[in-house]
Amino acid sequence: MWVSPGLKDARIIAHYVGLFVIGVGMAMLVPLVTALLYAEWDSSLDYAVGIGVAFAVGGALRMALPKDARLTHAHALALTGLGWLAASAAAAVPLALSGNYASYVDALFDAVSGFTTSGLTVARDLDHMSYSHNMWRHLTHLIGGQGIVVAALSLAVGLRGGAVSMYLAEGRDERILPNVLFTTRFIWFVTAVYVGLGTLVLTGVHTYLGMAPARGVLHAFWISVAAYDTGGFGPQSMNAMYYHSYLFEAVSVFLMLAGTMNFNLHAQVWRGDRTELWKNIETRVLAVNILILSGFVAAGMAVTGTFTGPLAVIRKGAYHILSAHSGTGHQTLYPNQWSIDAGGAAFAAILLAMAAGGAVSSTAGGIKALRFGVLIKAVQQQIKVAMSPRSAVTVTRYHHLGDRLLTPEITSAAAIVFIMYIVTYVTGGLVGAAFGYPAADAMFESISAAANVGLTTGITSPAMPIGLKLFYIFQMWIGRLEFVAALTLLAYVVLGLRPRSGRRTA
């Protein structure tokens, strides 16, 4: 039986979405201050407008709160789905005014890409973008990487009931601490440590390279945020290629790896349990995948013969496997080099790394290593059952923050998400091909969008058809929320629009 939402449900959701939008407006104070500090007067007005619009729209939605409002699990799911879209729509306002985007849809594309930590961009003339707009683009990574709801919960902005549901709806499978508020604050603490360390070390690297102090610090902060939050935006059009530095790439690899690890794993290691790092099924799956796929990249590069010597293969091949697996999308190759210079095996390996993704409850996207591990264990169990006598009871265990029993519920949950991702990847590939792009490139771009990676073969550009931009926006959004919250919202809309006769209300 489908439970149809009524007007009261819509008002509750609108109220909380309004709070998210106001929160986005408050976050815009950071780029506003940046603009004022660097005398970017016109850009500062972009943020004054952005803040005004966010406060006005958010304020109007906030007033929708009905009497005796109680936030249910379904409300939490739907408002998380809608909240991400509304936050992106508000975040796009100053970007649209910046002059670096051809239209509002393009600005929305980058806002969604920023919040979902995808890193695909349709910005024009990125090399002349103001510091304040770059600050805002990277700040969307920082907020979205941890989660918009996590951000709201850690500040406890008027979110009372349904907090756990919203937290889980945001693609987080696990709590770290018993209290969800402490969990969200712990996530921010871990992030602050890594981003702080990354900024410090990269500032040193940039100083060595000869960048001016202020510019060096800003670039260091943005790159640290983009790498740790597995986002992939960069302040220059050349992305990571701009710096021509082994040191820079080494630091960003460290940050990407840290960002792709489960926050729970960080907590375990910080508590002193370092063995968890090696015993955890996620770490093992990630390590094996990275090793195998790096081998395929090396094979692909060897076939074309363009990249000679182990140094070039490691620097270009392994770097991109890590960038793809972690869902970061930092690039040290030009987009067309994937199809021309890297070779078929390398192209396919990057595709698989993007699709697989990082760890659950991390800032990474994609199917996730834990689900792969569970499905591999499920296959193993099936083989064990087939080989055992009928009367035998077979049990399979796996280690993930403690020893766990593989149950049919765990297997089916992993399989459902796995199938949903595959369907999304393939659909996006078909849509891209229908717009006239080569099928392989279209599949690459689709996986990059849905798995929130950000690597590109060159399809994503300001010249991309608007229909494809909108489809990739949808893919980035649904991929980041891992389907449940997004599909609940869609179900809410469909059921809410049904004729009232003969339906049950929530």
Binding site: G52, F55, H128, M211, M238, Y242, K316, N336, Q337, I340
Partner: protein
């Protein structure tokens, strides 16, 4: 017999050598065209011009990297410290960078630089010094911000009143 083979080879190779590219050949390209370049031209001399962006970055004790932008795409150019010193302005939000002309060897995966796509400059010339970019303030944005913030303040007042009324 050996002499005959040598003559035959010389006859076969001579026209091929005449057609083959030499280091003296310089292909005029633009930066996007350079990145899309036919892979057979890897290692040949190219010439292009564009805007120097960001800043020059240390490559080694005697060389710097200058990133050159044209038509939305940029490429790293490996130049000597002296060549880099010719540039006074680099492109960023407030500046139009110097327009430079580069003649150099294109490397699709440079062995010296760990597989980078780069150009090793043989000749490097500043065509235009660059300068400031005027970014005038748009008054309409200030008006829009004022209106939106006024509406927001009004709504905040109404919301507070609504909550107070409900608490009674």
């Amino acid at each position: 017999m050996r002499v005959a083979i040598a003559i035959l080879l010389a006859l076969l190779i001579a026209p091929a050598q005449a057609l083959a590219l030499t280091a003296d050949d310089v292909f005029e390209v633009n930066v996007p065209g350079l990145i899309e370049i036919d892979r057979l031209l890897d290692g040949t001399m190219v010439s292009f011009s564009g805007e120097a962006i960001g800043e020059d970055l240390r490559a080694d004790a005697t060389h710097r990297w200058v990133n050159v932008l044209e038509d939305g795409m940029a490429v790293g150019v490996y130049v000597t410290n002296e060549q880099a010193a010719q540039i006074e302005t680099y492109g960023d939000h407030g500046h139009r960078g110097a327009t430079v002309r580069v003649v150099g060897q294109v490397n699709i995966a440079c062995e010296q630089h760990g597989g980078e796509f780069d150009v090793h400059a043989a000749q490097f010339e500043v065509l235009d010094a660059g300068g400031l970019i005027e970014r005038p303030v748009t008054p309409l944005k200030a008006v829009a911000a004022g209106i939106a913030l006024t509406i927001a303040m009004l709504e905040a007042h109404l919301y507070r009143r609504m909550l107070v009324r409900r608490m009674r």
